[in-house]
Symmetry: C2
Subunit: 449 residues, 2 copies
């Protein structure tokens, strides 16, 4: 077994300023792409070796795409000769030490000249350990693969029981959180119920399959316009999704979801898409953290630390226009990453830094075939087929690699004409996190065996 | 948690003869496709919900293809109206009971009229539990994904150590078994070393990466012709693979592979592709099992049981031409499955059964770009570019679904022109089976978390 003391970060010494970037998400990669390796040494840490296009993760969960279609290896992104002094390390940063300007990892510390925290968010269970234990998150590639196997295995098991309560429990899917992830997942599941599942599972009456979308506020897609929320609600209901507004989950024990209003739903599967909080790191000055995010000024500088920055979802930049911070989507992260690259150059040259100004390009959500909503700049709202076309176009354009664009586009064209879902492979054991230790498998199928 | 006693096989009663097929491999699906649902009720059991094209599994392991490209859901294959009385169950068969003509599963027994065992093979470690514990097999989709993550994480770790012995151990890959899996994997790794890895890992000197292909016999690809073996050896050596013939592994403790001749190689990764044995089931009459396979007559009937059959890799049909049974490749399984469908019809009608006669269509192996070998009928042998073109054509044609053909073809065309490997994503923890319980992760990346 490889011991940590045999490893070291192994970053070459340099006379250039060293920029350490924690996180290879939208903020991190856009910053690193714009920074010039003649002027800086760039070190990027991430716990994963890929950059993911997470807005499409729900399609991995619903057997529409494979992970390679929405994720791109970070080493591939930074593999060209332009990045001669770029160093990726697949290591977790355990602590930052602003007083001595170093970051700590399990295999050693590294001094930095500039530190950029771009770690994004993690699922937030609001302290409910039972829900954390039994629910399915949808934040990472393995989450999506787990969820896909869970969906399919629920149907496999539902075709093997005559007990009506067990069967109903396997066919009830509770999605908590009416944001984009919850809405898009609910829509995709509803489309599968219509087009793919009845052929695959002729023994199941899919009239009995229920998709519950639970939202605590009074409308779905709360970050979007009321017009788009209303349209989305109509689309979801048209697809047969049971939308429960103004509803909060109280508990979930793996079998029964109980809501604050006392209502109960038996369900073998509960997906938690209800909240995120910043993926904070040990060592941050306490005064810099508010509501789980890092307070920054309009240069993304952490207050009191001119050489320490936070960008993207984890950054909390209060402005008059966005007193609660920018929306937790890709665009602010991308724009902040690009601007910070310029500002770091300016900082080195002793020039004045440019203030961040968010250019809202609008927001989009897809519910199903020909059904999407778009909030465009200048308060314009679109729905239906045109919004759907815009959604397709924008998502294809944003995918990182040339190959990924092609893979996704060809998959979508294929799905559109065939109503197929290609990747209905169960490659994970049928087991919830909470049950893992004690679970027996009737199909003896364990990914680890 | 779902208890077994709440589940049942839930197969409808029928007045037609019921054919129970255990296994959805080449034999099982070709049998089921040809059997007419007007005449039979067909029940298929498998531990996986997909049929896999395993000859391309090594490409999943070497980041060339995603699992969906080489696997097809069984429910999709049998989803059309032609299969009204076909029933798939994702359940392990624990025992067969020929005396009462039933099969047992964890959720109940099922009577059969005809039983077909098409379970294929499993890795055979020849009783060496230490090798079983520490080596990587390459038999199933999760194996390939594990191995891919292992390869990539070895390089990640190698870029984070200055200890020369640790680094060498991470860069040594020992592949045991010079059959098609071992040869094709060694070739694909050697191509990655040449084209992809130096760009991804500029900090690693890939002149120090070693690929050892260990074979107990005196030539690689022993099932093929001596001409093809010799050509293959040349191609492998040209790609810089260290081929060790007449060499047997004695032990592997996760760090050091020791050979019977006393030689030792330090290696963090050892891939076991050295042998398979039949995936036998409890309850088979002992006199029907020889060398881990099931003895059958020329109708694939198990001796003494006219209603019990074995087809494909697990069947051991001794003939004058094949005294040691047919080769363990797809063609005998396909041909036996198709013939058995006809013979079951004949059996029901009281007609005479047809003897199986294997039509050898030749065999192929690929070593790398423009490098393949082919043994064609009439003792013709091809190598190089022409064999490579034949290999590409045959493998594309054999892929099950229309979509899979397109996905694989477009991936290959892309790889050919770009020298890229698209799917270099680490989605599994860096841990060998033997270390799993005690392993700590420096990147804190655990697929289950």
């Amino acid at each position: 077994m490889l011991e940590f003391d045999k490893l070291s970060l192994n970053i070459p010494d340099t006379t250039k300023p060293r920029v350490v970037i924690i996180g290879g998400g939208f903020g991190g990669i856009n910053l690193a792409k714009k920074l010039k390796c003649e002027d800086f040494q760039i070190v990027m840490f991430d716990k994963q070796n890929y950059h993911g296009f997470w807005p499409l993760l729900y399609q991995v969960a619903t057997a529409g795409l494979e992970p390679d279609a929405i994720a791109e290896p970070l080493r591939k992104i930074f593999g060209s000769d332009d990045y001669q002094d770029f160093h990726f390390r697949l290591v977790r940063v355990t602590q930052i030490n602003p007083a001595v300007k170093t970051v700590s990892t399990p295999i050693g510390d590294l001094p930095y000249d500039y530190l950029v925290i771009a770690t994004g968010t993690k699922s937030n269970y609001f302290g409910n350990d039972q829900i954390k234990k039994y629910s399915f998150p949808l934040k990472k590639v393995p989450d999506a693969l787990n969820l896909r196997s869970q969906f399919l295995q629920c149907f496999e098991q539902a075709s093997m029981t005559i007990d009506p309560e067990i069967r109903q429990s396997l066919l009830n899917f509770v999605i908590v959180g009416g944001g984009p992830t919850g809405v898009e997942l609910a829509g995709a599941l509803a489309e599968m119920r219509k087009n793919v599942l009845p052929t695959d599972y002729p023994g199941i009456d899919f009239g009995k399959m229920n998709i519950y979308l639970v939202e605590g506020m009074d409308r779905v897609l709360p970050p979007m316009s009321p017009e788009s929320s209303a349209k989305t609600l109509g689309y979801l209901q048209g697809l047969g999704v049971n939308v429960m507004l103004n509803t909060l989950v109280d508990s979930y024990d793996g079998s029964v979801a109980t809501f604050k209003n006392g209502e109960k739903i038996i369900a073998h599967t509960l997906i938690w898409a209800a909240g995120v909080s910043g993926a904070l790191i040990e060592g941050l000055p306490t005064e810099a953290v508010e509501r789980g995010r890092i307070l920054v000024n309009t240069h993304n500088q952490i207050l009191g630390y001119p050489d320490m920055f936070a960008i993207g979802d984890i950054a909390f930049m209060k402005t008059d226009e966005y007193p609660r911070g920018h929306p937790g989507v890709a665009q602010p992260a991308i724009q902040q990453g690009k601007l910070l690259a310029k500002n770091l150059q300016r900082l080195v040259r002793g020039e004045k830094l440019e203030d961040f100004k968010y250019h809202d390009k609008g927001s989009l959500a897809i519910i199903g075939r020909n059904k999407a909503v778009a909030d465009l700049p200048k308060n314009k709202h679109l729905g239906g087929f045109f919004a759907w076309i815009i959604w397709l176009f924008v998502h294809i354009m944003f995918l990182v690699g040339f190959r990924n664009k092609l893979v996704v586009l060809s998959n979508w064209i294929y799905h559109f004409f065939t109503y197929e879902r290609g990747t209905r492979l169960i490659i994970r054991p049928f087991v919830r996190k909470g049950d893992r230790a004690k679970r027996k498998f009737i199909n003896n199928y364990n990914a680890d065996e």
